[in-house]
């Protein structure tokens, strides 16, 4: 997280126009006030100064003030977290359901797997922005469906190859030969074996969904973190950008730790 924050600060510090202040062009400020603003900006030019002041703020729970909206960043981010989290959770759950429902029967097929999986291959080749636009144009489905289709396409590919290997393993052949039903083979022999890989895939899903969040929220005008991130990026709003990148790094880090921890427990 610290590395992500340092990287963001470094990028923003060297961005053109970072030190420009719209107050300097405001006629209501006098010459003295404008010189004071310039002097204040000059004092904040060093990377270490920016990093130290940002770090101090974070430790106090203060993420600074948005340059664009002139309100505290925490106030901007707070309500949007719930909106984006809800979209992410629903999108990931629906995406996984779609992927599992398709991957389980298709992976068990002996031939024509590519043919049955072709809708997912097609979905995989559609950019997130195009998927969202297509949903709007077709007037079918909202951001959740667009996100879930993206997740389903990606996870189907991994799930199919994972399950395909599992179906062909020697202990499964033995189980089949003993006449076990496909359901008991799936729930008692395949799922326990592929569970650790599935957990790792969940982390990947979160990263994929977070990446797709920006175009989907922007195109569907969902007032979530993705849209705020895009707006901050377009307007070079440093405090918002740093806060969101920290939040993203935190979410991905937590997801990674949870999946690693659960996998360890599973193996134990």
């Amino acid at each position: 997280m610290l590395l992500a924050a340092a990287g963001t600060i470094l990028l923003v510090r060297f961005a053109p126009g970072f030190f420009s202040d719209d107050r300097e062009m405001d006629s209501k400020y006098g010459l003295a006030a404008r010189s004071e603003i310039q002097a204040e900006n000059d004092r904040q030019r060093s990377i270490s100064m920016i990093a130290v002041s940002e770090l101090k703020g974070w430790l106090r729970g203060d993420f600074g003030e948005s340059r664009q909206y002139h309100v505290p960043v925490a106030e901007l981010i707070g309500p949007r977290i719930a909106i984006s989290a809800s979209l992410l959770v629903r999108g990931i759950l629906l995406g996984w359901m779609l992927a599992i429902c398709a991957a389980v029967p298709i992976s068990a097929l002996r031939k024509n797997q590519a043919l049955w999986g072709s809708p997912f291959t097609l979905l995989l080749a559609i950019p997130a922005a195009a998927m969202a636009t297509a949903c709007i144009l077709a007037d079918a489905g909202g951001p959740v469906l667009a996100l879930s289709l993206l997740i389903a396409a990606r996870e189907f590919k991994f799930l199919r190859s994972l399950l395909e290997g599992a179906w062909r393993s020697s202990h499964l052949l033995h189980g089949r030969a003993r006449g076990l039903s496909p359901r008991s083979l799936l729930f008692f022999h395949i799922v326990p074996n592929v569970a650790p890989q599935l957990l790792a895939l969940t982390t990947l899903s979160i990263v994929t969904a977070l990446g797709a969040l920006v175009p989907i929220e922007v195109i569907f005008t969902v007032p979530g973190l993705g849209q705020l991130a895009w707006s901050a990026v377009m307007n070079r709003d440093l405090p918002v950008m740093v806060a969101i990148s920290l939040l993203m790094a935190f979410a991905v880090g937590c997801a990674g730790m949870i999946s690693a921890r659960t996998a360890t427990l599973e193996e134990a």
């Binding site: 590395l3 990287g7 291959t121 559609i126 950019p127 977070l210 920006v214 175009p215 377009m234 790094a249």
Partner: protein, 266 residues
Amino acid sequence: MKTRIAAALLLLLIVGAAFAVWLSPVDYAFQDRDSIMGPSTARHWTGTDDLGRDRTIRLAAALLIGLAGSTIAAGITTMIAGAFGLAAAFSSRAVAGILMLLSDAFLSVPWLFLLMMARSLLPLTASPLQTAVTTFLVLAVLGWPACSRAIYRGASQLRSAEWMIQGRASGLKPMQLIRTHLLPHLHPLFLPQFLICVPAFLMAEANLGALGLGVGEPMPSWGGMLMELGNSALLARSNWVYLPIALLVLVLLLLETFAPESETNA
């Protein structure tokens, strides 16, 4: 067989696009003000956009620019990832740890978000060519972490391979070992990463462009052409507006056939 058909189709598309651009009497930025949002005619085969620009020429140029940019960017990314992965695999554990920590830091922020941030922080006043170069350069510079992990894993296995141990035991110097034994084995490690990066970069450019952060106008790009889908007046007049997305999906599908099945990590 599948990859041969895909390669032939892709080559056909590239040659067709090159001929369309080359033989066209006007360039992609030329505006025919008498044919704004025009339908398909003998002069403009797939109609014109909201500025009267020929869609066929723009689409052909977008295909060539997108493919060339993505291929070069994928080459640069593979080289950076290769340098990082090999340095980590053939150095001490502490150095490998630092290098992989750096790669993890990049991976901890979603790629598109990182790209968007980096792209937006570049100069405000840039020519279309500069924005195109910048966009693909940003893709190249930020795309390496996932690839470097895969190369690191592969190179670590090479390091402990029996022929490497024998080479070291027979007194070969590190440079000799790298030149005569290691380099020929790196090809199967690097090629899949390169092949994965090309469609991934093409898709990332389309997403960035659709957000207004890609290649600048009037230079045609997939992202810029996807933005046409948001123009309801254009959609009501012509079905040719859907051609760019259809062609982009086709190109991505063709490129995906070259990428190895289990290594989509970009």
